[in-house]
Every structure is written in structure tokens, then in C-alpha cells.
């Protein structure tokens, strides 16, 4: 072989190996997974959330001796912001899939949880604990690949199992009880939702450098950069300005 031939064959092999590994990449499983933890805070006074008038349905009034409040912004005493979705928006090449079946409950004429985060393709269950009829009606943009549907859930209705095809923050409503309003937050890869103190932990993060996004339904999205060492824990805190 002369030098040109060697050069060309080395080049060809390199290209093949690169393309091949790109394809195979999907099956490689990550070792030494770490996590990302942090707190999401609200800077300033939380907007007033009105008590909900449920007088349309006596069952709902009875189920809530102290009236429920709207949950668009839920801040704890220490300023921690609840129901914020945390996920990795950049840097993740082959996320492990989440498979746990989560439950979205219709309870006391409210959605529990208010925000259900999930992975693409992850099955979730919609159930009702109420003795009044609901209809469960998510309203995604059909152009994303997520198709809207609308199913009734009268008292005693069997749960419905569903999943979503694409990343999207999907509003879900009950047309019978117009105050019922929640979210399906569909993301790719590992995720977390903040608790009542604004704390979160994203588990199962392979080592690497990432952009983490924090999404809140009223305040929108913020991002932060983190690096997770093998088996390690990285920190990302967020603050949203109250308005």
C-alpha cells in the first residue's frame, strides 16, 4: 500500500466507526449515575391566589370545608416554590427511560398533583377519587405529535392509562368544573418536581455537563449549567422574581 491508500482507508474506517458508534450509542448504558439537587425560590411576595368558588357542584363544596385556592403559584413560608419542573434540556445524549407508572388523581374536585412531570412514552394513570363526574381533557398542540383527547370519569370510573409522544407542557382541564386546571409536563430524560419547600432532586443523571431547566407555569423557564461527576451530586438553585 502506498501512503495515499493508507490515508484513504484510515479515513474510511474512522468515518465508519464514528457513524457506527452514533447508531450504537443508544444501547450504551451509563455507569456511576449521579444526581442534581437544589432549591427553587420566589423572590418577592407571592401573588394572591383566590379561593375557588365551587358552588356549581355541591359535592365539591362539601368535600372542601376550607375552600381550596388556585395553584398557579404556590410558595412556602421560606419562599420555596412548589410545582416547578426540573429537567435536563441540553447535554444528555442517551437518557435512561423512566418507567414508573405515576398517578394523576381527581380528588376533592382538584388535580393531585397539580403538575405531573413525566418522560416521553412514560405511562401514567388518570383516576378519580370523587363521587361527582369529571371529564379529563388535556389540550396539547396536535402538531407536536401529542394528540388531545377527552374522556369522562363519572364516580367509580376505571382509571385510564395514557402516555405522550413529544416534549410539551400540556394543560389539562375538566369542562364540568372549570376551576380544575393542571399540567402534564412531558420532558426527555430524568426530571423532578419541587416539593412544598422548593426542593428537588433529579436522580439517575449520568456523569457529564448539562443545562438544567426549571419551568414554572406562570413564570416560565430558567436555566443553569451543572457538571455531574460519576456517582456525584451537583447543585443548581433557581430564583424566580415574583410579579
Amino acid at each position: 500500500m502506498n501512503r495515499q491508500q493508507v490515508f484513504v482507508s484510515v479515513l474510511a474506517i474512522t468515518v465508519l466507526v464514528c457513524c457506527g458508534s452514533l447508531l450504537l450509542n443508544k444501547t450504551v448504558s451509563a455507569a456511576g449515575e449521579g444526581k442534581i439537587t437544589g432549591t427553587v425560590k420566589l423572590d418577592g411576595e407571592a401573588p394572591h391566589m383566590k379561593p375557588i368558588d365551587m358552588s356549581k357542584d355541591p359535592y365539591c363544596v362539601k368535600a372542601n370545608p376550607t375552600p381550596q385556592k388556585f395553584q398557579n403559584v404556590v410558595a412556602g413560608s421560606g419562599g420555596g416554590l412548589e410545582n416547578v419542573v426540573l429537567y435536563i434540556s441540553d447535554g444528555l445524549s442517551n437518557p435512561t427511560e423512566s418507567t414508573a407508572v405515576q398517578v394523576f388523581d381527581q380528588k376533592n374536585c382538584m388535580y393531585s398533583p397539580h403538575v405531573l412531570a413525566m418522560d416521553i412514552g412514560q405511562t401514567f394513570k388518570v383516576q378519580t377519587s370523587d363521587q361527582t363526574a369529571h371529564n379529563i381533557h388535556p389540550n396539547p398542540n396536535p402538531m407536536t405529535g401529542n394528540i388531545p383527547w377527552n374522556q369522562s370519569q363519572p364516580p367509580g370510573a376505571p382509571p385510564v392509562e395514557k402516555s405522550w409522544k413529544a416534549t410539551e407542557f400540556i394543560e389539562v382541564k375538566c369542562n364540568i368544573h372549570p376551576w380544575m386546571h393542571g399540567w402534564f409536563a412531558v420532558v426527555k430524560g430524568p426530571y423532578a418536581v419541587t416539593d412544598e419547600n422548593g426542593n428537588f432532586t433529579i436522580q439517575n443523571v449520568p456523569p457529564g455537563s448539562y443545562t438544567v431547566s426549571a419551568w414554572q407555569e406562570v413564570y416560565g423557564t430558567q436555566t443553569a449549567k451543572v457538571t455531574v461527576a460519576a456517582g456525584g451530586s451537583a447543585k443548581a438553585d433557581f430564583t424566580f422574581k415574583a410579579k
Binding site: V8, L11, I136, N139, W149, N150, Q151, P154, P155
Partner: protein
Amino acid sequence: MRRNWMKWSLWVVAVVVLSLPVASWAQLTTQDIAARDNMEAHVGNLTGHANSGQAKYDYRRYCVGCHGDLGDGNGEVAQWLDPPMWPKPRDFQLGIFKCRSTPTGTLPTDQDLYDAISRGFDRSAMPIWNVFTKQQRVDLVAFVKHFSPRFVSEKPGTPIQIPPEPEVTADRVKNGREIFARVQCWKCHGVTGQANGPSASTLQDDLGRPIAAFNFTEGARPKCGSTDQDIYRIFMTGLDGTPMPSFADNIKPDEAWDLVFYLRTLMAQPSKEKDIARQLGLKPVSPNP
């Protein structure tokens, strides 16, 4: 000379590698567009073509004023239609249709769209198009479908199974009334079917426009057909894009007929069911069981 050759081959490889994803993407999108332009519809033994001169001519002449050039429902006339009295024209790009034989969240069949076009929409500006030949209508179905990428990437749902219609009996009418109470149709439609249930006043469609529940008592025709089969289908598939949900998981197939019979007792049109209700002295359901 050698150097040049090496440089040159490096460039070729680089360009080929880089253009691979671009080429496959371009191929996909052009394929997509071609698939939409060549969209077909099949009804009975007729085949409709979106790219037929007739389909284009009929759409431009008869549909564009409401449904728009792009099929997005923004034709010139659309601005004059005010919901809930006058629902806005359908946005065909979304692929979301009210009248389906298929489960909620799925595309309708070609037959469903054909029937909707032939039937027109009562209590709306959408005319009845039964003056067209069958072939014209099947061509229009293909044309309606070609506006939505969903008809390329998805298949229509599997139509729900409807068991044969049983004989109307007093027991079945009474059982239908129980179901109406149990699954709480009255929340929206009202206990007497007058579209005045506790939730009626706040109903909105998926695009946030006000929408009225169906009033059974005025003699109006349901938008998705008036036969017993049509009514069965309406509440077992739901009217997608509206608050009217699917009850397929909540009413057993045979019992669904009982509910159809009970709904007849609420309607203005004379019927066997109405006579039975009168004989039984059936009262409206109670909102607080």
C-alpha cells in the same frame, strides 16, 4: 500533486458525511409534501384524489370562503361567525374532528368525513353538500385531509363496535334514565336536556371559544347525525375539540342503546320512547342522588 489529492479526498469525505443528515431530512420533508399532495380518500368503491382538478376547483369555489386557502379555518367569512351561536369553521390543519366513528384522540375515517360533508352541520354556517356527486365529495375528503400532516403520519382510529340495536322496552328506557343520572350527562345538558346544566354556562371549546351543550328539547338535529346509530356513536366517541367527552370506558356497549332510547324521550320529535316515558310517568333525573 499528492498533497492536492489528499486534500481533495478529505473534502469529499467531509462533504458527504455532513450532507448525509441534511439529505435524509430533505428527502423526508419532500416525501411528506408529496404524500400530502397525492392524498387519497376511499369511500365504498370510490377513490378521491386531492390533486384532482375537480377537488381543487370545488374547494376554491365552495369551501375556501370559510375554511381558507390553507385550510386553517380563516377564510374571509370566518370573522363574521361568532360562537357559541355561530361556531367558527374547522381548522383542517389540526386534524381534529367532531364527527367520528373512531375513539377520542384519533383521526376520523374517510367515511366519517364524507358523512360530515354530506350532512352539513346543524346550528352552524357549514352547509349540506349533498348536491355534489359522490365522486366530488370523495375528492373533497382527500382535499380536506391533505391540509394536515397528521393524515400522513397517523392512521385513522379503529371504529368502535356497535352491537345490533335491540327492541325498545320500558325496562330499557328506565335503565337509560339511570345511566343518564349515573354518568351525569345532566352536568352539561341539564336534567331535562335543555342545555342548562350547572356547568353549561362556562363551556369552552379547545381553542377557548364559548360553546353551547346540545339542547335535546328544541327539535334541533345533532351535528353528527340523527339516527339511533349516530347518537350511540356521539357519546361513545365524544366530539373532539369540544367539552363533549367520550363515555366508551363508562357505558357498556349494550347498555349504551338504553341511553339512546332515554335520550329520545327528551327530544321534541315524537317517538315510541316518548310514548313509553309518558305511560311510565318518567320524571327528570335528580341532580343530587
